[in-house]
């Protein structure tokens, strides 16, 4: 795929995710998070992340959960997370901020393409932060799942 297409897909992705209250951030944004506890998927621990976070293995007390995303879906601002091997599912669920790292080339336009690439393991499609409108139809974010979701596009 020529780089130009990927850029416009990420543009579309960012637009759709922002409407829902999510953000696409850069590596430098990550390094600005100081003094907060983070909890990660096992494999993420292998990445050379330079940031002011210190590690915890308890997702319930962590401020940030960092995971990988298998791919991003531009059409809806969705990411697909596949829980393979030693993944920690709660990292994307319990902490109030979820950061998902997705490789630059792992983006598709349509939901169909994402479903096509499903792996035979537990997976989840995440479209924005947790929300409810149960009380008088007023929107509240972060009821049970994360209140914020950030996507880091990994361009190596």
């Amino acid at each position: 795929m020529p780089p130009k297409d990927i850029r416009s897909l990420w543009q579309e992705f960012e637009t759709n995710l922002s409407i829902l209250g999510g953000r696409v951030v850069s590596w430098t944004d990550l390094s600005k998070i100081e003094g907060r506890r983070w909890c990660v998927d096992f494999r993420v621990g292998e990445l050379p992340l330079e940031c002011g976070l210190y590690e915890t293995t308890d997702p319930w007390t962590a401020d940030v959960g960092i995971t990988f995303g298998q791919l991003a879906v531009a059409e809806t601002g969705t990411i697909l997370i596949s829980h393979e091997s030693a993944d920690r599912r709660l990292a994307s669920l319990a902490p109030p901020l979820h950061i998902a790292i997705v490789r630059d080339e792992d983006i598709v336009q349509a939901l169909e393409e994402a479903i096509d690439r499903l792996k035979p393991c537990n997976s989840v499609l995440i479209t924005g932060p947790s929300r409810t409108a149960d009380i008088e139809g007023e929107l509240v974010r972060g009821v049970h799942g994360p209140k914020e979701i950030w996507i880091v596009v990994n361009r190596t």
């Binding site: 809806t76 030693a86 479903i115 989840v124 932060p129 008088e136 007023e138 049970h144 799942g145």
Partner: protein
Amino acid sequence: MRLASTRVADARKYTLGRVFDDVDKARHYAASIKQYVLDNLAPLLTQFEDNCRANGITVHWASTAEEARKIILQLCRENSDPGATIVKGKSMATEEIHLNPTLVEAGFDVVETDLGEFVVQIDGDTPSHIVAPIIHKSRIQVAQSFQREKLGPYSEVPETLAMQAREHLRTKFQQASIGISGVNFGIAESGRIVIVENEGNNRLSTTTPKVHIALMGIEKILPRESDLPLFLRLLAGSATGQKLTVYTHLIHGPRCPEEIDGPDQIHLVMLDNGRTRVLNGPYREILRCIRCGACLNSCPVYRHSSGHAYGHVYSGPVGAVLAPAMEGVEAMGELAKASTLCGSCEEVCPVAIPIPAMLLRLRNEATAAGSTNSGIPWQVVASLAKNDRLWRAALILLPLATKLPSPWSKVRSNPERVGRDFRRWFRGRP
């Protein structure tokens, strides 16, 4: 409550119009897939079960609500200590079988974790809408309930209330031995269980406890994984006017040894409870229903009454067909009369269920069974109608008859003859 329904109905129209080039085409295609499932249910269920088993999911079959309760109770007893905490995600199927009282009686601490269902539970109430359980409650009512349950300082701000619930429920998620959920779609070709939600409580309920019990109506099958995108879009768009729900779980099986968290066991309870009977009868199309609630939001009768008025776990247009279809017209046939047959439900249904036609059929079935009475002697009217002279005589008397008090005249003034008589006028022309 009427305003809330209207708002969601508008959101539905807006979103679906943007997501699909041709909403009707999408609906009818979805209808054909669901119809295919109903026409091939037995082999698809076999395929689904085989795949689930291969993925490590234990499959149980329950023909009745009672059987389902027994199975689930047994599973809970076998896998936890007395008085253990059970966390529940929102599931119409579990409401249908009245599961909670059974578990509570057995001494379990059953906790509804969907915010709306949580409020319903602490109030000892029942949900009034398939998708929005407390659409009938105000923030003040919720605030008072939370204060009563000592969940935090009194506040009427929805965000504050939601955070109080969050804190309270987080403890429960961590304590729970068992998590119970429903199922939105079961994919036959892969044995995957799909659950959609916006809050994240279903994810938590089915991740932290050691055992996950999923209750699924047998009609909730989709043939292939590639059918999912269409249904995910239609469900989210029709239910809440969203492009997609926040979370779509694509559950494959219990956790593998290397996984850090996730349930050790998944038990899938397949629920019949009258569905096979409906499948073999004249109302089978109602089983296409994906529980989006769009019909409720568009129904003038639902908007002007409320879910509780239907007296059944399934309310609104879908309930008006499903209840009598599952439980018989003798028991629930009156619900079929609670409709003006305006057709909005059929127009918005993402799987094009012909609800008005089925309501008419139910009315006929109830009449033929003698279990309902419209109060008007139609057989007499029919005999009069065969002879126009008798008919005319009766019509002349009709305006007199309307002078008598009737359900009509209680709320409306009676129609009166205005102006000329048509027949006389027509006859008198040159």
